[in-house]
Amino acid sequence: MTCKAEHYIIGETAWCPGCGNFAIREALAGALAEHCLESHQVLLVSGIGQAAKIPHYIRVNGFNGLHGRALSPAVGARVANHNLKVIVESGDGDSYGEGGNHFIHNIRRNPDIAHFVHDNQVYGLTKGQASPTSDPGMVTGVQVEGVTVSPLNPLSLALVMGAGFVARCFSGEKEHLKETMKEAINFSGYALIDILQPCPSFNKVNTRGWYKKRVYFPEIEDPRDWSAAMDLSRQWGEQIPLGIFYNNPHRTFEESRAALEGEPLSFRPFDPQEMSGLQEEFL
């Protein structure tokens, strides 16, 4: 194969014109191309939502599962075949709302998975309800008097749970996004990129212009400085920092399991008759 971004782009999307999802897809295709990953060696796992349709639009293996459950099959996939590059891509509602428990506990597990969250701060597919990251005050058909709960900060949360790679990108900064994706894909362990993504159809607050005006690239002196990363991650409002706030690998889920050394489990031969020794302990 030729390692061109176009190779990965397939399908007519069901996304709205002007949506940030397009740029994210392009960045992903670019990242895959620049790493020259073969389609059959990559697995893209998603949940349900507008963002989660992405496995239909990128030519790699795809598991488009249940709403909120993208990370779980991805971990299973890493168990079965740790030679696959596994990328999880889904919406903010999917990843942090319905899937919140898997989010926090998989960070603890630290599987070698890159997790790209299309964070449009809204539930797109179900027509505009608040998501966990919606800014307070946002009015929707369900939050008729505006969002009253405090927003979930995915980056701080990931840091506190012990994630080794924590980054924020913006779909409007495509080159930066692509480069960050490349690093996340190469990172050993769980790597989160929360991607600010305008949703022109439903999010009339955090528009492309709104983000554009606020995002900046802070100087990050030591990507292993957890407190500095935490401070950065808590900035929101007039100034929204982008970048890899934290980058500090630790032992992965796969490394902690001896059975995962060598050939992927999926392709190892097996013969039931060789197991007959198992009954000896019961004799």
Binding site: H56, S72, V75, G76, V79, A80, L278
Partner: protein
Amino acid sequence: MEINILIGGAAGQGMETIMNLLGKTLVREGFGLIYTKDYMSRVRGGHNFSRLRIAPGTPWSTVESVDILVALNEETYNLHRDNLTPSGRVIYDPQLFSIPENENRGIPVELQKLAEEAGGKVMANTVAVGALLVLIGLETPTVEELLKDTFAGKEGVAGKNITALKAGYDAAARFCSACFDLPPKNEDGKKLFIDGNQVLGMAAMSSGCRFLSAYPMTPSTGIMNYLAGKSPDYPVIVEQAEDEIAAINMALGASYTGVRSMTCTSGGGFSLMVEGVSLAGMIETPIVVVVAMRPGPATGLPTRTEQADLEFILHSGHGEFPRAVLSATSHEDAFYRLNKAFELADRYQTPIFFLSDQNFADTHRSVEPYDFSRLGYNRQLAEEGSLEKPYQRYRITDNGISPRALPGQFENEVVLVDSDEHDEKGNIIEDAATRRAMVEKRMRKLDSLAEEMDEPDLYGDPHPEVLLIGWGSTYGVIREAVDALIALGTKTAMLHFSDLWPLPQKRLRSLLAEVENSYCVENNAGGQLSALIRRESGLSIGGLILKYDGRPFLSREIVEEVQDDL
């Protein structure tokens, strides 16, 4: 010609240790037995007990009457004394309570004190085993050997236990030695001493299951413990999930990517899995789900038994898709049947359920070693030569089964699965024609799946006037009820289902046409198999013999209900 032993005490007093030691010893000596547990949902205290029945052949169920009662506390004595047979004896620690001497059945053994003398309180259980042995007239060498096996490398510990054992033996010998007659030994070779969860764990291992993701839940946790115990030495990964939703979704991810995967739980945990079950049906990904039933609704009685989730499991998950439901009827059968579940999952690419319950899970029996050559490992994966390219995960075929390839298996071919309705390639569609074709493709699998189902086991009188119909773990107890009814002069047979869905109907139809009195015997309040039979065949079963108090049937109860009704 049989001996029934009951050991009772508070949770944490170590009844299990005693029973395991004694049970294994007896099996090694060649006796046939069954050992069942009745325990509370707590860690310490309360009242727990176990029954061990030693009988000719291999007994199928335990009974109420007690020949030897080991009462680790007074409550046990008070609760079970009335079930003692006239010649029954009670082993107890006189330091804890006393039994009126005129009852003349007490065998006081200072369990605690003798244990301490041997080297530590924890060995009180070993002392009790010694006492038990002498009562049934067995010498100690087999136990000594067992203790040495168990504490291999820790000779001190083994030695102290042997001292304790002998102390118990000698103390009890003063009151009675061999005062119970053991039944004849089975002379046909070595037997396994194994419980239901271990049977299933070993079957999964031997079926090539390489991933178990689960969340602890009684009475299924033993399966998890078994596989986890093997994980340092075998290529199997056991992952404790954060919840049951994760458990099934992880397993599906691993299965999609290529390994045989399983999850296990009980009713409440299964409730959280049904969305994943529906996903498995839609993405046509194999998965084996073991549900060890316990009484519901909700938390119910966590450590007790019931068969009330059959209909729930049969219809679990939104939407329509093919599935199979098998069940554990006996230790002998369950080993091969769980293998069948894995085989069916791979062949039909759909969720396969295996129903166990606390009664099966926690019961040890002595069984023939398994024949591993009977196990299948047919992954039914696509092969390079025959693969049509570009690969289509959901190719429409005559039997509804599409060639299954794994991600990464073929150069340049990708595998796409989707929970939305999709086309042959796996991409989302919305048009009516594709939807129709895909529903029909999936449902077509049911036709051949139905052919795979084993007819229910038929046992008893060839021309019965009474037919007892059951499923799952009641196999043994119904079988004993059949024997008892025949002995009482009632021509009785049993029709017992291991494979429940698609419901095999041939035997049922031919028998029901002939037999006048038919009963479904079920550990539930609704008569769920009976309803299923009516739904599928239109046939009505005459009566229901139900038990829903969390306890397994006694064969006596079945016999009495039949007699009362006739």
